[in-house]
Amino acid sequence: MIDVLIIGSGGAGLTAALAGKEQDASVLVVGKTYPTNSQTSMAQGGMNAALGNVGDDHVSSHIADTIKSAHGLCDENMVKKMCAEAPQTIQWLESIGVPFSRLDNAGSGVETVAQRQMGGASAKRACYAQDYTGLKILHTLYDTCLKNDIDFLDEHYLLNLVTEGGSVKGATFLDIRTGEVKQLNAKSVILATGGYGSIYHGYTTNAYGSTGDGVAAVLRAGGSVSDMEFVQFHPTALKGSSILISESARGEGGYLVNSKGERFVDELKPRDVVARAIFSEFKKGQEVFLDVRHLGEKKLMELLPQEVELCKLHEHVDPATQLIPVKPVAHYSMGGIDVDDMLEVNGIKGCFAVGECSNAKVHGANRLGGNSLLEITTFGKYAGENARNHAKNSIVSEISIHQLQQDKGYLKHLYAKDHTINFYEKREDLGKVFYEKVGIVRNNVHLSEAMGILNAIGESHQNMGLTDKSPTNNTNLIDFLEFSNALQLAPTIISAALTRDESRGAHFKTGFESLDDEKFKMHIVSHLEKQA
């Protein structure tokens, strides 16, 4: 039996695998694509650590900034742990060969790692590799996994967790290539399956696959999710394509201007503030642009080469000479699987969750730029260690194949049934409804309307199905399962947003514009009603 089964092969999963594998535990990383295809590759701006390489900084400032941005909804001990371990995480990434951008300061080791300003930070704290920070960390982690002989199982789609008596025993998967449904038994499971930003289909910087597969699986297995209403909107996505333009563009000195060419917000405020400022310009009929022309072509190519390329390709704009049209879109899920301070899922023993899928309560109501790469690497290691230790003490028993049979039965039913509704249309509808009614500025009327529309889509789900009946390599089936997961999570977001009659961080509600600590300084936790 596998000691540690890791589901998801992005930065969190790979770091967990490396930590889990120590002391000869057996580790298997299962992913729905290939390890380097993950959302981690899209993290651009940097990773926070109070190294103080560029001006003064201290871990306590990093902690204070993170707590401030969380607006009362973080677990301060978890924040302290993450921020305090940040410098040694950078040291570890340095030791496996991450090609960070460098300073010419004649220092040694991590002293030479360049650091840049990000929104909401009181110092230049984000370590970076041009604007490819996530890509370069991810690929170095992958190379290190190959070096350490980590086993991978690619193109396996998570169907359900296998649990017995409140403990995890493994998970079921669809082998995308063969169409076979498999059960993998394990002593510990780590979910590192990413966020749920793709509910905002068409209005998100996220990859297609960020559909909250692991979060939904936890709900179905009897676990809890929390803080689902806190979805971060990134202020600067390209207007036409929703493709991300890194916050580092503003960190390096870029301005936001409206159609009249006027600046209207301090660009280095946290993302929630800047996103709302842009939204209110839209309400006034203004367009909003990112202006980096004054940085000059040389500096742009040096610091933001990827952004320049993406602007030219997708917007026909040369940032060195032209304004970049932008809009805020869904970017990051602060909420997710409710875990304790060991990252163990509340309600499912032996199951851990880390990264964007997890709510480790370090981001609270609003994540700071540069803290997600930090979370996946620092807590990735922590999850790997904890899962390994759990496996060591676990007793092997015979595991039922009930879940496997149930999942085989469901897929058989799905292949057999007819459908009248094209779920791809509903995927578009859901994304639009969420952006318009569960977006940057919310109100209870819109939220209720969104819930109504969602319920209607939910009810019509039984009339949706597969057009493609191929048993093998059926991406129509994967799209359907992903959409079904998004649909399962959607009500938890809206109902929590409806309940939260206040404004806090990324959740802003008209009519309730201020913070109400007395009623709402708490996490809203959801779980599925047990079926009779």
Binding site: S38, D104, S108, G109, Q306, Y424, D468
Partner: protein, 243 residues
């Protein structure tokens, strides 16, 4: 406008009509799948040229579907030298094994004093997204399926010249067989890389590093001096002496 996509089930091109407006190939594929033909099979992720999932061949040339603007009459096919799983979806496992064979990772870490210049030295090489475009474009695979290939060798070069690497020789040792000397330096890989990486140059540099470690070009030795005419060594020099 129309595009033609190679379907694996029939091994024929299927034509699809698209609205006459500028669009990326990925948007076109997604549109077709959502509205017209849900059986059309491809893979995609980030839409922003960084996850490496959506590489295909358009009119014979490797492209990221998310970064290619569709033209009327385009012919879209899966990557070369990868087993086709279905339509444009291919199996990349064998290609990725080249990374293991070349041991393209940091062998032994030693703390170093890195500078901005050091960062620049392998900045482009570390932009690699493992999209496999270079692998698909490499003609060596037509004759040698075990070739380590462009992306693995670029990665080997990136680590072997990292100042933090204390045992670059190990990497050099592991890229001799089916490696640096098997490349024809045709430059097809460089032509197709969506991130502007130049594997041909990296391989050339690796050859230099190999010579420094005492290796010689085996093809040079056999082709120039290993023929029967020269095998007697009658010219008074040793063909293995370091040309």
């Amino acid at each position: 406008m129309k595009i033609n996509i190679l379907r694996s089930e029939t091994n024929t091109q299927q034509s699809y009509a698209l609205p006459d407006k500028e669009t990326t190939l990925l948007n076109a594929l997604t549109h077709i799948k959502a509205t017209e033909d849900a059986t059309l099979t491809f893979t995609a992720g980030c839409r922003a040229s960084v996850c490496g999932t959506c590489a295909v061949r358009v009119n014979g040339k490797e492209q990221l579907a998310c970064a290619y603007k569709v033209q009327d009459g385009d012919v879209v096919e899966p990557l070369n030298y990868h087993p086709v799983l279905r339509d444009l979806k291919v199996n990349k496992n064998k290609a990725k094994e080249t990374l293991v064979k070349s041991t393209a990772w940091l062998q032994n870490f030693t703390e170093a004093s890195l500078t901005h210049k050091d960062e620049k030295h392998t900045e482009t090489q570390t932009d690699c997204i493992l999209c496999d475009s270079c692998y698909s474009a490499c003609p060596v695979y037509a004759v040698n399926p075990d070739f380590l290939g462009p992306f693995a060798l670029t990665r080997a070069y990136r680590y072997s010249t990292d100042k933090r690497e204390d045992n670059a020789k190990n990497i050099i040792d592991n890229i001799q067989s089916n490696g640096v000397w098997d490349c024809t330096l045709c430059g097809e890989c460089t032509m197709v890389c969506p991130k502007g990486i130049d594997p041909k140059m990296d391989i050339t540099m690796l050859r230099g590093l190999s010579v420094q470690e005492g290796y010689t070009d085996p093809t040079f030795a056999t082709q120039s001096f290993g023929t029967p005419d020269f095998s007697g060594g009658g010219f008074g020099f040793d063909p293995n002496a370091g040309f």
